[in-house]
Symmetry: D2
Subunit: 400 residues, 4 copies
C-alpha cells in the first residue's frame, strides 16, 4: 500500500499512460442501502450516516478505485432546498463531512480525493451565469479548504453550464475533469459530443468525457466522438467515462431518466460483471484511461473493471482475493454441473435470461421535449402540490 503523501496526482498518472479507475455512483448504491432518498437524491448521509458512506468508499477502494469522489452530488444549496426537501444539515456541513470521509478512506490505499460539482436547478430555472457560478464557488470553498486532489464537474445536460463550472474550478489551479451526461445525440440543446468536448477543453478541462444517463458501450461510443473532435481541433486532453450499470438500448437523448423504469424498476437492466469486463476492454481500446462508473455500479462492477485491466495495470485489486477470475471460484462448488461453469468461455457466451416472460425487452422512453427555460422545468423551494401533480398524471396517462 502506498505511503500517504507520496501519491502521484491524476494528471501525472494519466500522462504516464496509466489507467485510473474511478468509483461507482453513491446515490443509487446508498439508496438501496437505505441512506439516500430517491427524488431529491441529496447526499446528507455524509453527515447523517458517515459509517454507511465510509463503508461504501472502502468497498470501492478494495475493488480497485484510484479516486474517492466526495459524496457531494447535488449538494449545492439551491438543490438541497428544492421542492420541499427538508434536511437537518447545512450544505457546508454535508460538503465538509463528505470531504473528510473521502480523505480518510483514500489514505487507506492508493487513492486520490476528487471534489465534485453537478448541474444546478438555478441553471434550469434560467438564473444568470453569475448566480450559477456563485453556487459552484460556494461548494468549491469547502473543497479548497479540505484540499482535495482534483475537481470534477460532472452530470451536466447542457454544455454551457458545464463550461461555467469548469471555468470556476479551473481558477483553483487543481486538475479539472468535466463529464456531461449525454449520449451520441449530444446535449439537451443538440450540441454534438464533439463540439461539447472541444468547448470543455477550451474552458480549461484537463480530462473530458461522459458520465451517467447511458450504458457503458454507448458512453464509450460518445467519448470516441469527443476524442475525434478534440484531436481534430488540435487540442489535447485525457478521456474519461463513468457510465450507468444499466443497459439502455432504448434511450433517447435524455438517457435513462426518460425510461419508464427510472428509477425504481431498472433491476432487469443491471450489467453483469462479465459485461463490465467488456466495457473496460472497449474503453481501454478506445484510448480512454480514466474508467469508472455511475448509477447502478456496485463494488463488484468496479472490481470487474480492475480485473479486466489487471495485465495493463500490473496488479489485481484487494477484493480479488474473494473472486476467482472468470468464475474459477466455482471449481470449489459442490455440484459438478456448476463446476462446469468455472471458465471464461462459458460466461462470455452466455446470454442471460430475464426470468420475466411477461415483460418486454425494450421500453418507449418518456420525455416531453422540453429543456432549460421551459416553464415546466422551473424549480421551486416548496413541495410539489397535488394540484401541480394532477395534470402531470393526466398527461402521462394520455401517452400510455
Amino acid at each position: 500500500m502506498a505511503p500517504v503523501g507520496s501519491k502521484r496526482g491524476v494528471l501525472e498518472r494519466l500522462n504516464a499512460g496509466e489507467v485510473v479507475i474511478g468509483d461507482g455512483g453513491f446515490v443509487f448504491a446508498l439508496e438501496k442501502r437505505g441512506y439516500v432518498k430517491a427524488g431529491p437524491w441529496t447526499p446528507e448521509a455524509a453527515a447523517e450516516h458517515p459509517e454507511a458512506v465510509r463503508q461504501l468508499h472502502r468497498e470501492f477502494l478494495r475493488a480497485g478505485s484510484n479516486v474517492m469522489q466526495t459524496f457531494t452530488f447535488y449538494a449545492s444549496d439551491d438543490k438541497l432546498e428544492n421542492r420541499g426537501n427538508k434536511l437537518s444539515f447545512t450544505g457546508q456541513q454535508i460538503n465538509e463531512a463528505a470531504c473528510d470521509l473521502a480523505r480518510e478512506v483514500a489514505n487507506e490505499g492508493d487513492a486520490l480525493v476528487a471534489g465534485g460539482v453537478s448541474q444546478t436547478p438555478s441553471y434550469l430555472s434560467c438564473k444568470s451565469e453569475e448566480e450559477v457560478k456563485k453556487t459552484f464557488k460556494k461548494q468549491l470553498d469547502v473543497f479548497i479548504k479540505k484540499n482535495v486532489d482534483l475537481l470534477i464537474a460532472e452530470y451536466f445536460e447542457h454544455v454551457e453550464e458545464a463550461e461555467w463550472a469548469v471555468q470556476v474550478l479551473k481558477a483553483t489551479g487543481k486538475p479539472v475533469a468535466a463529464t456531461l451526461c449525454i449520449g451520441p445525440d449530444g446535449d439537451m440543446h443538440g450540441v454534438t459530443p464533439g463540439e461539447c468536448a472541444v468547448r470543455l477543453v477550451k474552458a480549461g478541462a484537463d480530462i473530458v468525457g461522459v458520465n451517467c444517463h447511458f450504458d457503458p458501450l454507448t458512453c464509450v461510443k460518445t467519448v470516441v466522438m469527443m476524442k475525434a473532435a478534440v484531436e481534430k481541433a488540435g487540442l489535447k486532453a485525457h478521456y474519461m467515462t463513468q457510465p450507468l450499470a444499466y443497459h439502455t438500448p432504448d434511450c433517447s437523448c435524455q438517457g435513462f431518466i426518460d425510461l419508464p423504469e427510472f428509477p425504481f424498476a431498472l433491476e432487469p437492466r443491471i450489467l453483469t460483471r462479465w459485461e463490465m469486463q467488456q466495457y473496460a476492454r472497449e474503453a481501454y481500446k478506445a484510448g480512454i484511461r480514466y474508467i469508472g462508473g455511475c448509477c447502478g455500479f456496485e463494488p463488484y462492477h468496479i472490481r470487474a473493471v480492475a480485473e479486466e485491466l489487471s495485465a495493463e495495470r500490473g496488479f489485481l485489486p484487494e477484493a480479488s482475493q474473494k473472486h476467482g477470475l472468470w468464475g474459477s471460484g466455482l471449481e470449489m462448488h459442490t455440484k459438478p454441473w456448476v463446476r462446469a461453469r468455472a471458465r471464461r468461455d462459458y460466461w462470455e457466451k452466455l446470454k442471460p435470461a430475464s426470468g420475466r416472460p411477461l415483460c418486454p425487452s425494450m421500453s418507449t422512453p418518456d420525455g416531453w421535449g422540453v429543456t432549460r427555460g421551459h416553464a415546466a422545468l422551473m424549480q421551486q423551494k416548496e413541495a410539489t402540490t397535488a394540484e401541480q401533480l394532477r395534470p402531470l398524471f393526466q398527461q402521462a396517462d394520455a401517452k400510455h
Copy 2:
C-alpha cells in the same frame, strides 16, 4: 427503540399474531461488496472484515428486520475445508465473531439473534447420521455459549438431513425454525413439501418453511402446500419464507443453482421493490408470519416488505425516512414527466423491460439428475484438478 433485555422471543411474537421480518442473504450481498468468495461461499468475513458484516446487519435492521441471523452459513468445518478452500480463521473463530456481530447490532434495535446451521458436505458424501449430527453440534456449542435467541436449520435439500439438524437443535430448548431450499416438487428425493413439513414439525420444529432456491411467489406457493399438510395432520406450527430476490419461472426441482446464469449472471432476474411488496402481501394473505429473504435481497427489498406490512405492524422501518411510499419521493424530481411517476398505480402496472433484446426471457436449467450418494457428488478436501474439470466441461458443452 426497545430497551435491551426486554425483548419478546420469536414464538411470543408469532403466537401473538405479529409479523416477524427476517433479513436478507449475506452471502450474495457480501459477495457483491467484495468480502465473500463465490464457489466456496464461506463466511470468514465475520472474522476477517467485521466492519463490512456489521454494516450489512445495520442496513437490514434499519430496513425493518426483526431477526439478525449470525453470518455462519456453511461454517461447518467440513465445508470450510472443502475442495481446497484455505482460510486464516477456524470455524470456531468465525462462528463466535458472527455471533458477536449479530448481537451487537440486534441490541441497537428490536431484533433477535438467530444461530443458523445448513446442509453439510458430510451428508452429501453419505456420512452416517451420527457424523452429520456431530457437525451440527459443533456449531451449536458456539450458539449456546453466545446465547442466541433462536436457532434456524436452513438450506437443506434433503428433508432427512434437516430432521437430523432439527433434532440436534431442539435438544437445546431454544425455539427452532427449519427451512428447506425446495419448491413445489419437493426435496431432492421427491418427498413432497407437505410431507417434508410434517416430518420437520414432528422432529421438533416450531416454525417451518422454505428458503433460497426459488422466487418469492414460488416459495409462498410451496409453504401453502406445507401448511395444508401440517394442518391436515392435526399438527401446529408457524410458517416462514426466505426466498430469493430473483425470478425463477424456468427452474426445475433444484432451483436457481441449475440455471445457466447461476451465480454470475442473475442480474436481469432481480426483483424490484414493488414485486417485493407483492410478495409480502401474498405471504401475509397465505398465513405466513415470518417473512424474510435470502440470496439477492438487498436492504431495500426488506424495507419493501416492511412498508407493505406497515399497516399490520403499526409502524414504518427507520429506513423509510429515506423512501417515499410508492414512489412519492419523485414529487421532488426536477423533471415533470418523472414527477408523473410518483404514484402507486404507475409502479404496480409497469412491466419492466430487460434492456437486453439479444437475450431470451427464460433459460433451460442444467441439472444432471444426481443427488445424495451419487459418485459425482462426493466431496473432497483437495482442490478440484484440471483432470477433474475436463470431463465436466465436455459433458456441459455436449448439452448446449
Copy 3:
C-alpha cells in the same frame, strides 16, 4: 401416383406400421386467404368459393398429406345459424360440396377422404344426448352418401360429447378417429387425457388423440399420456395428433382460445419448418403414426413433417421438388453469407428473434372458469347485441 380405387384404407396402413400424414387446418388458412370469417368460423367457402378450397387441398396433397379432410368444420346446422351468422347455402349443400372437393383432389394422389364432425353449440347449451346425436347424424348422412373413406370426430372439449359422436360414427362401419382439443390437464370437466382415451376407445374409436388448442410438443405429450392409459387398460388403438402451428407455453386448460392474442395476433407464435420437423420426429418416436396439423398449419408445415419422415416413408412429397432439404436451396443464393446458412446444423441451433422488443414472450391467458351448462355459455340464433357485449367488455377490462 396410385390408381384410383386401389387405395388401401387408413387402418390397413396403420396396421402395417406406416405413417399417415394428415392435412392442416382449413379454417385458419382460408381466413387468411379471405374465404372464412373469424368468429363464426363456418365452412361455407366449400360451396361459395370451391376454387379456393380445392387449391388448398391440392397444396396439402402436394406437401405430403395422405388424408383430405372434408371442409365441414362447424358445418352442423345449429352452428351455421348461431349468433346471427347468415349464409346463402344450407348445411347439406356445404357438406356435399366439401365432400366432392376432397374426393376430387384425393383422386389426384394417394390420399383418402375423411368426413369430420366437431363439437356442437347444442351440447354446450345442455341439449340432450339424443338431440346432440341427431345433429351428428345429419352431417353423417352426407358422408355416407358421398362414401368417404374414414370418419373423424375432432375438436371436442368434453369427452362425453366426443363419446356420443364416436357412437354415432361407429355405427356406419367406417374406420373412426377421435381427437379432443385438450392438453395434459384433460378435458373441460377435468377428465384426464388417459381416461378420455380409454373412454373413446371403448366407445368405438380406432384411432385416438388430440387436435388443435395446443402446440405440437404439448400435443405429443398429451397423446403419450393417452397411449399409456389405453395400453394399461389392455386396449388397442392407433394414435394421432393434429396440433396448432402456434407456440403455446402460456396456455391453461382451454388452450389458445384463452390467449389474449387469439385469433388475430398469433403471428409471432407460428412455428418454423424446422420446429415442425422436430414435432414430426418426437411424434414418431412416441409411437404416433397419424401425424397432421390444425390451425396455423400452412402447406410448408406439412411438407416439413413429410421431409422429416421421408426415410421412414421411403419417399419425399411432390412439393419437395421446390425445397432444398435443411435449407440446401440456399446454395444457389447470390450472397455468400446466405449460402453459409445452407445446412441443417445452422437451422437446428437458431433461436429465432421475435423482432418485437416492446412485446413480452408470454401472455396471461383469459378464461372465466366456466364450461358446459354455465349461463354464460348458452348459445343463441340471434346476433349478440350491444347490451350483451357491454358487461363482457367491462369484465375483461377489469381483469387487465
Copy 4:
C-alpha cells in the same frame, strides 16, 4: 365490377389523388404453398403451376389490390440459370405465362397489370451497362407484346442499376414505377434515399419508393426522406411503398437478407393485421398513395390496408365480406371472454407475445461488408460446390 377496357391508368388514379393498393410478394407466399424454391426464388410456377399463381392473384384482387404484378420476379435469363438452377421452361415462356395470368385475373375486377423487372446477377458481376440493359429489354419485349398497363423496376440494391432499368422501361412510353430495396441508410454504395429518389425521377420514373428488405414503418420513413429530397429538387413524382410483412428493428443496410433468420425462421416477425392497418395509416399520412406489400404479405395483410383506407377510398374490398372490422366477427364467438375481444380498442393496445421464452427479441445481422464488384459476389451458372461452401461455413461459424 368495372367493365374491361374502361379502366383508368395508374397515373390517372394517382393524379386524381386516389389510393392505389398494390399486391403482396408472390415469391414468399408461393414458397409456403409449395411452388417456389427458396434460394433461386425463380418464378417458373407461372408456367408450371398456373392454377396456384392464378389463385394467389385472385386472393389479392379480392383483398383489394388494384395492381396485379406479373409473377416475373427474377425471370431474367441470367438469373434463371444462376448457380445450377435447372428449369423446364424458358424465360420467355415464364414471362408470357405470367402476363396472361395477371391479365386474366385483373379483368375479373378493377385492377391493372404491371410488368416488373428486378436487379440482375449481371450487374453484381460487373457486366457493362449495355449488357445489363439488354437483359431488361428481353423481359420488356414480352411485357410490350402482352400490353401491360404499367412497368415496375423493383428490388434494386444499387441506384445505378435501377436508373438503367428505368431508362429502358421509360422508352416504352408506359408509366414507370421504380422502387429500391433500401432503408434510411441508402443504397449499397451509400447513396442516400433522397439522392436515389432524385436520380430515379430524373431517369424517368413517374412513381418512386421502396420495396422489400425492411418493415413497413421503416419503409415509410425512407420514402418520407425520398419525398423531401424530390420536392426540394423541384421535381414531381408519386410515392410508393411495398414493404416486408416482417418486423426488422435489428436490420443494417442490407435489410432482412442479413438477419440470421432469413429466409426460413422469420415467422415470429410476421405483422398482424392491426399492425398493417397502422402501416396503411402512416403511409397515407406521409403522402404515399401507392401502398402495397412484398415478402411475407398474405392476402389478409392487403385486406387490412384496404380496410384501414376504406373511408378514403369509399368502399371495402370483397374479402371484407369475410372479416368483421376491428375484430367484430368475434361477436359471434361461442365463448364470452372471446366476444369481449370484439373491438378496436382491444386489438390496438395488445402487445402480442412471441410464445418463445427461450428466444431473443432481436438478432445481430450478418453481412460481410461486400457489394457489387467484390469477388465474393461474382455469380456463376454452375451449382455451388462443397469446396466453395466450406470456407463460407467456417467464416460464418467464426462470427457466431
